[in-house]
């Protein structure tokens, strides 16, 4: 038994971390975000070369056949760097086709998604009469005769995607190649500019159903999203903590470094204590998706709810300790704060996942 990372996994993270430090430093992040594109194609291409596009895709479909835990480990590093690449939507689209697609569909799309020739994303959210929905089982978008009708919101990096996996009425999934006629795409002004969002209106848009999208598979795809969000928030919140530590050590007030005031020191210790142990929570959730089917749904709900919530508290403390400077656009804190806000809300709020957890626990 080993509750820890393998040497390969540690190497993967180290490699990525160095890559991000070199190729996606905050100066570049700022540039990308100010341009409002929220997408660094060069960095994404380099990441694709490292195999990020098809990390969990079997070798026969052109992937590197790693585990969901590996995917989550990548997500942590991307969160840590607030890297502006379409990893989240792409990974979920890949998972959808991998687990829910027919053999033919897999052969058609997995290799081009793995290589990055096509960029994938997912379209789950809708505004319905029942309120906002994220769960595929509640989708109202209609698929009939191979045509899609309905409106989706919050499609990550939707404006750059070639292929979008769409949840449809009845709880299934469908794939749209976005070049198809009849999909009206509207970029939104996203708060987290490292992961811009679009709305898509489907009006008779040609789409293919994914035939194996039964409830368990659809849940699994969502759960992968949840654990990626949790890992991303963990990375982002640690980055906020580190930035706060650095700032508190350097910045002086009344002739003393901030970090030497016990009040400040204790706040920083509380931030780290709230956060650091949760590493084991998302590791376990990801591992459960790989190996312990019974445990995965509950643990993914818990990891998403707990970690994305705690990360916001970490962010709040980071701001308090930075004082006014943290509130400015010029301060780097904002990128990670907004990243954490995105992670907290995307695919449903913590309180929704806690309610789901309670049901899953059989209470």
């Amino acid at each position: 038994m080993d509750f820890g990372l393998t040497e390969e996994q540690e190497l993967l993270q180290d490699t990525l971390r160095s890559f991000v430090a070199g190729e996606s430093p905050v100066s570049k992040l700022r540039e990308i975000c100010d341009s409002e594109s929220g997408y660094d194609p060069k960095v994404w291409e380099d990441l694709l070369e490292l195999g990020i596009g098809g990390l969990i895709v079997p070798e026969e479909y052109g992937g590197v056949e790693m585990e969901i835990l590996d995917l989550a480990l990548v997500s942590e590093i991307l969160g840590e760097g607030s890297v502006p690449v379409p990893f989240l939507g792409h990974s979920m689209a890949v998972a959808a086709i991998l687990y829910a697609g027919s053999e033919e569909q897999k052969q058609k799309w997995l290799p081009v998604l793995a290589s990055g020739e096509m960029l994938g994303s997912i379209a789950y959210a809708e505004s319905t009469d029942e309120g906002e929905i994220w769960e595929a089982s509640q989708a109202t978008t209609q698929l009939s005769d191979g045509k899609l009708n309905g409106t989706k919101r919050f499609v990550p990096h939707g404006q750059f995607a070639d292929l979008v996996v769409v949840s449809v009425s009845g709880g299934g999934l469908a794939v749209v190649e976005i070049a198809s006629a009849g999909a009206k795409l509207e970029p939104a002004d996203s708060l987290d500019r490292s992961r811009p969002l679009s709305s898509i209106v489907f009006e008779g848009t040609p789409a293919q159903e994914l035939p194996n999208a039964d409830a368990a598979v659809v849940a699994r795809i969502r759960d992968i999203g949840l654990v990626l969000l949790a890992a991303d928030s963990f990375g982002a919140a640690w980055q906020l903590t580190r930035m706060t530590i650095e700032y508190a050590k350097e910045r002086k007030q009344f002739g003393t470094p901030l970090a030497q005031f016990q009040g400040v020191k204790h706040q920083i210790s509380n931030m780290a204590t709230d956060l650091d142990p949760t590493r084991a929570l998302w590791w376990y959730a990801a591992h459960a998706l790989d190996h312990i089917a019974d445990e995965s749904e509950k643990n993914c709900a818990l990891a998403k709810a707990h970690i994305t919530e705690r990360s916001m508290e970490v962010a709040r403390s980071a701001f308090e300790l930075h004082g006014g400077i943290g509130y400015t656009w010029e301060c780097d804190l904002q990128y990670w704060f907004k990243r954490a806000m995105f992670n907290r809300v995307f695919l449903g709020t913590p309180s929704e996942h806690r309610a789901r957890y309670a049901d899953l626990a059989g209470w």
Binding site: E130, F254, G255, G323, W329, P350, S351
Partner: protein
Amino acid sequence: MDLKLGKEHEAFREEVIEFLKGWPLSGEETKLPQVEQDQIFRNQAIEKGYVYRDIPTKYGGSEQPHDVIKDTIIQDEFRKVGAPGNIFSIGAAMVAPTLLECAREELCDRFVESAIRGEVNWCQGYSEPNAGSDLASLQTRAELDGDEWVINGQKAWTSMAAEADYMFGLFRTEPDAPKHKGISYLLIDMKAPGITIRPVKQINGGLEFNEVFFDNVRTPVGMMVSERGKGWQVSRATLKHERNLIGDPNMLRNTYLALVELAKKTIRNGRPAIQDPRVRDRLAEIEGYVTTQEYSGLRQLSAAAKGEELKVMLPMMMNKLYSTDTAMMLTRLSQDIIGGDGLIAPNDAETAMAREVQHTPGRWVYEYTAAIAHSIAGGASNIQRNIIGERALGLPRDLRLE
């Protein structure tokens, strides 16, 4: 305890209500630009003694005897009908009272009236990049050259700098004096050569603050308020007024009411969010804080009216920290209610801090991020905790290296 107004005050309220029937204006006057309509009505109100009550008549005020209850009645009734009363500007709320308290008559003559009328706009120059809560560390210098002060350095967190005609601020005039004692309070023409203004964009897209750079900016010696090295004392008078501005409990109540509306209007899981027992519980919990803040404010007001501020020093010192935490709790719940809409940035209207803030999800994203900023404006929370601990509860001061 008597929350009923006395007969005199009830009569006064009736009088105010009667007067306010004249708003909005009618007839030909309605064709005038809104600003002019406002000014016509405000002048009538000054004549009645409802506006600028603590400003001498010679400066355009109505010079009324101090009466906090009447102030409150006027404020309430004016707000109800949206009538133009006291202008809420930095100039009217902070500069005018400070000058009246600390400046020579000449400066009062020159600046008070235009400040309260909003004809001349002011901005504040206290904070610097390396002196946020610690004003004693200010570095921006003013050196005497003949009958002018020559200013070099930089101010930060200056609201409305671009719109301002003048700045009031603290500058180091006595480099050899101990920290506090080397600072003077100067007024500066914002159109003077050498001033550069750079707006600071906030993380929620707002543009409330600026940096102001000084490169050999000159201001006459007569523009000093009080004396050389007394800037610290003057600033405390101003700061008192700023703190009052920030601790406004109505702001919190309004935000809370808007949150309740949000919870009523937003459908989640097939029903209004406000029907969710968890939302109800959290709203009621927040109501506990908001109501506390409100009644505590009323108590402070009453004590002030009786000149018994000493009795309420403790809650007064706590206002800032209390409302900061409450605002955080409140806007945090808003994020749970708006859900995915929290993924979208506030738009220009939402970031413009308009009088009528939009009831949109984006407004709540703006408020949430602003709540985080609240822990900063007017002194960081840890400084507040020190002040409460040391000045109100009698705890010993921090150990210092100095």
